[in-house]
Every structure is written in C-alpha cells, then in structure tokens.
Symmetry: D2
Subunit: 305 residues, 4 copies
C-alpha cells in the first residue's frame, strides 16, 4: 500500500495531491494545513473527482498521527507574496522557517520514519533545517532543489534546437535560487555535446542570456499566474515514485554535500532509502567555482536564520 502525506496544501501541495489521485498513484493520502477549511475543501473536491475515476485513494486530513506509517511525506509551504515582492526565494525564509519550526516536532512525534521530499523555499536551507530539526537521517530528507531548474534548462535549450526537452541531458546545479548555474560542459542535445553541436549548427548561443531565462523561469510563471505549480509538482511526484519503486533514479536534487557541509542541488541517485548516494559527475574548474560559490551563498544565508 502506498501512503503519502502532504504538509501544506497551497498550490504546490494540492497539485501534488491531485496528481497522486488522478493518476491512481496513491492508495492513501494525508493532507495537513494550517487552514483547516482549506483542507476540508480540498478533500471534498478530490472526493468529488473520485466518483469519476477508476482508481480510489483514501483521503484523510489534519491528523499528524497518520504520518506514522506514511512512506513519503511532502513538505510544501510558502508565502509566495513575500517572494514575489522581492524577487528572491529567501524572502519567504522568515515565514517558512517558522513553519518548519512548528511542524518538525509534530513530524518527529508522529513516529514518521519514511522519506521527506521538500519543495518549500528557500529549498536548500529549509530542507537542511528540516533534516536537522526532525533528526531523520540525511538520506531520508531531500529537496526538489534544481531538479525543476534542470527541467527549465531542458525546456529552454530544447527550444533553441526545436527538439524535445526530454532529449536534453545535463544539470542545473547549486542553489534553487539566484546562485544556481548550468553545468554547460555536460549538457547534451540529442546525445551531442551542446557547445560543440551549437557551433556545428552555426548557432551562436548567448549562454548567459539562456541561463538567465532558466534562472528566472519561476518568476516568468509567477508573473503570469501568481504562483508555480505544475512543473514543481511533477518533479516532486517523479521523485516520490522513484523512492517507492526503488528506481535508483539519477537526477539533481537538494541533498547533503560533505565537502561544503550544506544541502545543495547536486546529482544524486534516488531509491528506497531516499538519497542512495551522491553522483559525482565531472565538471570544469569554472563550474566547480560556481558550485562552491553557490554552496557558500546557501551556507551564509542559512547562518543568519
């Protein structure tokens, strides 16, 4: 039986919930939110949907004790208005930090011992704080991090070559925030190394501009719809499925980096234990410097918490 919990059912949390229900992925689903009326409403709306679906998901709300035997717990909370005003995910920190302080002891107390997937911003810092405050092993707590920024990189690069974003490989690394960067040395387009291939095709790519488009991908979506939901929820669900089926999925996520002693977006392998191991891919010295810089950014901001 697949049992999921979601703490925080704003746009991201409830899109995760709907995805798990409409695709028949979850057998049981626990929704928890500070706004009880919202939890009741989402439960009703999802139950209305189920009379028209072939699959069934048991949906319960507001009960931390149910987390005891949950396999995957999503933490999805945010105060997007703060972020929007300043254009930085760190602006949400004050709010989300307080939220984690509130929920971490409750998670701990429930006896939960599954895998936590965090989408709360600033993702790297919050995930680390959550791991520390719950006392769960580092393996078991990770964030979506640059898995989404990598999807955006795939989308933006694909557009340049009129290919499918699924056929772009490579990584956006570092902070799920402004200090992130694309490791261009490893990006491929239909299996061709990007930089070389672009030259062959006579394309003069403006890498800085592309990177800015990726980095600001979230803000472009925010501006138009007031939040982001489908990209991030799809990333989170894919990670959850990898855990449940022990898929040993290789992808960039926010997890603990020993060298820099911080959570940060880096390639890792995701399976039944959560982070099975960090996948140390080759990057250039220049990219290493950017990674170090991003790690230090996360650490210094984290220190001010």
């Amino acid at each position: 039986m697949r049992k999921f919990g979601i703490i925080g059912i704003g746009h991201v949390g409830v899109t995760i919930a709907y995805t798990l229900v409409t695709k028949g992925i979850a057998d049981e689903l626990i929704l928890i939110d500070n706004n009880e009326g919202k939890a009741v409403a989402e439960q009703l709306d999802l139950q209305d949907a189920q009379a028209r679906l072939d699959t069934t998901t048991q949906i319960k709300i507001q009960d931390y004790s149910e987390l005891k035997d949950v396999d995957i717990l999503f933490l999805t909370a945010g105060k997007i208005d703060a972020a929007k005003e300043t254009g930085s995910r760190w602006a949400e920190f004050e709010f989300t930090n307080a939220m984690v302080k509130e929920v971490a002891p409750k998670i701990k107390e429930s006896g939960f011992n599954g895998i936590v997937i965090d989408t709360t911003n600033p993702c790297d810092a919050i995930t680390q704080y959550l791991q520390t405050s719950t006392g769960l092993p580092q393996q078991q707590v990770f964030g979506t991090g640059t898995f989404l920024d990598t999807a955006r990189m795939q989308r933006v690069v694909a557009k340049q070559f009129n290919v499918n974003s699924k056929n772009i490989a490579g990584y956006t690394l570092g902070e799920h925030g402004d200090s992130q960067f694309v490791a261009w040395s490893g990006v491929t387009v239909n299996s061709h190394p990007l930089v070389e291939f672009a030259k062959q095709q006579g394309k003069n790519l403006d890498y800085a501009a592309i990177e800015e488009e990726i980095r600001k991908g979230g803000w472009s979506v925010y501006q138009g719809k007031g939040y982001t939901s489908y990209g991030i929820a799809t990333c989170a669900v894919k990670l959850a499925q990898a855990v449940l089926s022990d898929a040993q999925l290789e992808c960039p996520v926010s997890c603990y980096n020993e060298e820099f002693d911080t959570y940060i977006g880096q390639p890792a392998v995701v399976g039944k234990n959560g982070i099975e191991y960090v996948n140390h891919v080759s990057i250039t010295d220049d990219e290493k410097a950017k990674f170090k810089n991003s790690a230090e950014t996360i650490k210094s901001k984290f220190a001010t918490m």
Copy 2:
C-alpha cells in the same frame, strides 16, 4: 491525433489542461484566455512539467485559428467572486454571458466543427446560448451540468453507507443550480434500491438534508478554497474521453430537452457525435414535477438575458 482546445484557463480550465497533459491524453492542446500573461505562464509551467513526464503534448496559446481541427473544445470561464457573494451561479451570468458573446463568433469563424463541452456557469443557460450563437448542431454542444452534482450525490450517499461512491448509481437532475434535485427513485447502493435498502439497514435518512448537502457541495468547496476545480475538471475530461473513443457513455449532462425546449441536466449517451441521444429513464410523478420546475427556472432566467 487528439487535439483539444480550452477557452478560459482559470482554475477549471487549467486543471483540465494539466489533467490532459499529465495523463498523456492530449497530443495537442490550445489554450486561450483574455489574460495573455496567464496563458503564457500556464504554457511555461506545463512545459516545465513535460521534461519529467513520459508523454508529450504540444501546447499552443492564444490562436483561435488552431480551433479549426480541434476535436474537443472546453469552454471554461467564470467570475467566481460574483457567484460567491450571492451564493448563486446566476450571479456569474452577466459576466459569462458577455464572454460567450465575445468568443462564439471567433469559434464560428475558426471553422471549428468538433464537440464543445461547457463548464461555464450558469451551465445550462450558457451552454444553450453557446449552441445558438455558434450555430453548431445541438448534439455537438453540451455542458457538464449535473454530472458533477451526481458525483456529489454519489459521495454524500456513499458516506451514509460506508461504501465507495463508484458503487452508487442514480442521478441528480435538472439545473446545475438551486432547482436541481436527486431522482431518489433510481438511486442504488451496491445495486440495492436506496430507499428500501436504507430501511432494511435501519437507517433513517433525512433526504432533504442530504439533498441540501449535495446542492451546496460546490459552496462548501468554494468556502474552503475559493473555487472548485478537481471534481469539475475530472467530469469534463471523462466526457471528452467518451467522445474521442465513441464510448457511448451513459451519464447525466446538460443537453437539449425537446419537451421543455431548453438545455437541462438529464441522462444522455455521449459518443463521437457528442450527445448521441437522450436516455429517458423512469422517474416518479413527483420527480417529473421537480424536473419541470427546474426546466422552467432555467428558461425564465434564460429569457432575461
């Protein structure tokens, strides 16, 4: 190739879009909204999702000429604040009526000749108005109507007996609004006629209270989340799938009733031509009177447009 269009990408429209994308149902999808920035943002967010999905959907925006060869067109617009203030879906009429006046000629001009599924409130009146103003055959234009209210009836009745809502059969009929009613004479629970079964089980059901809970199902969801999305989108997508695969799905939807010369929620069979035929089920004289009353309510309000 399955090609869908959605006019109006508020909460309902975009949830339909996401469902078609995340479940791999749509090969091509056209999104149109008065708010261009919103259309751009939803397109981006859905494209971000696709790098993490196994299926691909081509998403285009804001181009009415693409409707020419669309198979299924969803019309989903609304001004929920108006509805919320007054507690009646007719309060949205002024806004949505104007919207239909604006889009109907554009649909017509595009050369569209597929099936329209309407979720816009007040659903029965707007669907009828849309059919008239586009000049499309009555078969090809129908509304979700009481398909959603029937799902709510299934949920509420199922709860009384601790069974799955899928195992409740029967209909909520009439207006997708206050004059709707449950045709209790045909409701079954695990194949048992409800009224008789409740007596056998020693359950003293308060049918009026249950009906009120069903009728106010939408408002309960509105109150908690500010809108409804998952139930209605799931109904709309199920109807679309029935059309595409010519499933001859029997279900209550808002379609033209000859006797009362109005669109109204009634059992019909949905297939490749849209409404294949109305399914005249037996109801009691009391239920017939309620149906007539509901039809007249729709007509009289429609006349004031």
Copy 3:
C-alpha cells in the same frame, strides 16, 4: 510500497505481470513457476520493457521467501489442454489440484499473510481448497469466479443494444463453469431494467441463447487463440487494485457462502481485508434455485477431489 506475487506464469499469470509493470501499478513483483526457464525469460522480457517505460518495477523470481511481505498473491495455473479436450474446466482439476497441494504449504511456510486472488480452474473449488490448505482466513482468499463471466454478460448484452458494456449492470452468478447463470432480474441497460426495456424496444431476446453465448465465452476465445488472457487478467488486476486502495468495490467474485458452505460466484465487497462482506442482492425464486443448483454442483465435484 505495493508488492505482488504471482504463482504460475502461464498466459494468465504473465499477462497480469505485464499489466502490473506496464501500467506502473507494482513496485515489486515476485514471479514463481515450475518451469524456471520460463520465469527467467519472462523476467528478462519484462526488464527489457522497462528501459522504455517511465515507471520501475523490481522483478524477482522463484523465491517463495519473498512472499512473506507480499500484499497480493495471484495464483494462476492451469492445464488448458485438458480443459480444451473436454470442454470443461473441471478437466483441469486433477492437474491444478495437485499444483495447489504442492504450493499451499510453501505459501504457508513463507509467512505470507496478504490477500490471495485465484484464477486457477475450476476456480471455485481450487480457491476453496487453497483457503483450507493454507489456513488463511476465508476473507483473505477469493477467486475471480464469475467476475469474468459477468464481463462477458455485459459484452453480449451491450451488443444487443449497441451500448457500452460498461453501462450494463447485473451479475452472472454461481460456478465459474457450466452451472453458472445470469440473474436477469437485476440486469440493467443504461439504467433501464433489461427485460422491460427490451420489450419497449421491440426486441425479442432469446435469453437462453444469450446465456449460452456468455457461458461459452471462454471457449470461443480458446478456440481462436488457444487460451484466454486479457479479460481474466484485467479482472484480476482490478480486484487487486481494489484491495490495495481499500476501494470497497462491489462485484461478483468467488468467495465463501455460508448458506451452502462452499465457495461460489456471488456479489461481494472487496477492500483491504479481501472480502469485506457478501452483498446479498435480491434475486427471483427461479434464480435462487439456479444458484442452489450451482452451489451443489460445485460441492459435489469438490467432494470427489
């Protein structure tokens, strides 16, 4: 995590396996067969498929100890040639009975305590024998029984009225074999009672001929392809999904009947405990007599084991 086991990977077993893999239903799957080479080959073929699927299923073979924490165990074995020669599923009894004698102690010894879904013929007798010999509670062991014959009834009746088989309700009851019968009194077509509706439509149905077509549905498929697989596997997977999600699915399956002290195809409700309860639907006296006759047929044949 959803963990399934399949004992017997002939056409039915392996089609169940493929369905669980290709639809991403199973996280882990244990295949066991007397023919080890076949188990190895099916594992390889299913693994080849998985490089092209978005989901992952861990597939292990030939290890009874893995059944310890399996949620759902399918028993699917048969000697179809015996059945084909004689035209009766009882002809397989000698073979399948011996098979159950061999595997039941191994299931018991593994510490398995999940739900068993049996498709092995003669289904009612084998399921009962399996329950007795494993000592598992009656709730936890049931057979597909007339769930498939009911699907065939839906198909054959639907054809008469050019409707979708999903819109035919009602039951084929009794033995998954020659003494089965359709409870015509409860069959509905698009929510209309069949017998009355046929008259209204001026259709003069030959119920005996239709029933024979249903009863011989399996043989028609055997004759053309040498076995049956898709209908039966789809029924078995649907039941498994109902157990995993505690769906309280109401449907006819082979389970223990107290009145006649035998396993037999009858309406029941399927949930996390397997058979949650038998659903006693109204049938006519004539149908009751047929049910009794079918129960006695099963019992008398069972006694000769």
Copy 4:
C-alpha cells in the same frame, strides 16, 4: 481520435494491441491476421477486458479498408519456429517476405497514408521491402530495429553497476541481427562515460561478453518462453506515441541510410512525419567499420530475396 492498425496478431501484435487498450492509448484499433479465428478470439478477449477498464477502444477486425485513415500501422508477423531452429532472424525471411508481398498491395489499395512501424524480422530488410513495395515515402516507414537491442544493452550494462536501465544512455547500432554492435564510445552510466567510469570503479568489463549477452538477448527470452513480446511491444508502442504527439523522440530505429543505401538501425528523431531526420552522432573509426559491415550484411542478404 487516435486510430491504429495491426497486421499480424501473433504474440507481438496482440501484445501491442493489449497495451494500446489497457493503457487507453487507442481510440480505435484494427486487427488483421491471416488466421481469422485468431482475430475473432483476440477481439473478444480484448472486449471482455474493456468492461473492467475505464477507457474504451473500438476494436474492428479483418477489414483492410479501415486502414484508410489509420494514423499508425504496425506490421508484426513472423515464423518464429524457423528463427529458433537456426538461431537467425534471417531464417524467417522466406516466410515474412512472402507475407509482405501479400499485404503490401492491400495496404496501398486501402489508401493508407499514415506511419508504418515494422517489427517483422529480419527487421531491416523487411522494413525496406515494405517501404519499396507500398511506395510510401521513406520517412513514413521505419522499423523498431535496434531500439530493442539498445534496451537490452541498457539492461545488461545497468546490471553491472546496479543502476536503473533508464540511466544508461547510448546505442546498439546496425542490423537487428547478428552484425549489430554497441557503440561503446557513447555509452554513459548515470551520465559518466562508461569505459572511463568502469575503470574508476575498478571494474574490468568484458565488452565482448557483454555484447554477446545483448545480441543473444532475444534468444535467451525465446528459449524460456518460445517467443519475445513485452520488450518489443513496449518499444513499438513508445515509437507510436512519439509519432502521435510529434514528440521528436531521439532513439535508434531502423530507417533509411543514404550513405549505404539501406535500412539499418541508427539514431533518428521520430515525430509526426515518422522519421524527422537521421541524428548523426559521433562514433569511433572502429565503430564506423562495424556499422559499414553491418550495412553490407543487410544489403547482401536483402539482395538474395
């Protein structure tokens, strides 16, 4: 509406059919086989399944005129016994060649103008023959070729490193037969170049042995189950989905190579036009020699037809 045809419903063809039905991919499906009884039986079995599925697929049989507006046509035929006796797919040539000679004019006559996906062995030669004899453009006719052998490469390499086969990139190229080879220079494991990574990990890989295991992957499956079905059907369906959604999927398939004037397994991009273009990836001189050798093998055998 998605409309598919399948000519030849042996193990591969019918597994494709079942996949399209059980996953709700096809709206309409035409099955054609020399053995009419088999076609009838598969139709019945798939229809029995559909009463238990949420989706509907219209299934018709034996009618070439239906191919007129089919989007995707699978050609799946074979005489596996011939292949098994000799251990070579060319042993099926006499039979399958005759089959193509028979069906090509019927396809042509139907007015079919969609995309053909061929799985018939010897795949490269038969696909070429089919293209020539139907007169369809080269783009519109391609074979699964080494898409399956690449899946096998992924499986076998993944096993060496205990990773998911989905995280192995690279190609098996050339003939879907004995002269195929793995382009090791482009194989990656979790984004690491294989050869280098194996050294780092202290793994002394026997590339020739691995390649033999890949090449003989089909025979291993044949030996155990008498045929292959799930891997090949999954490859074929994935290609079909890429065509329908214009996914621009990059993958190795059997398509026309200008340099060697033959069909052969090579990286290409698959979209709505079938083969959108050949994707010329870098390979070593040694690999180029193997590719040339494989092309010549196909051509010389083809010449003896």
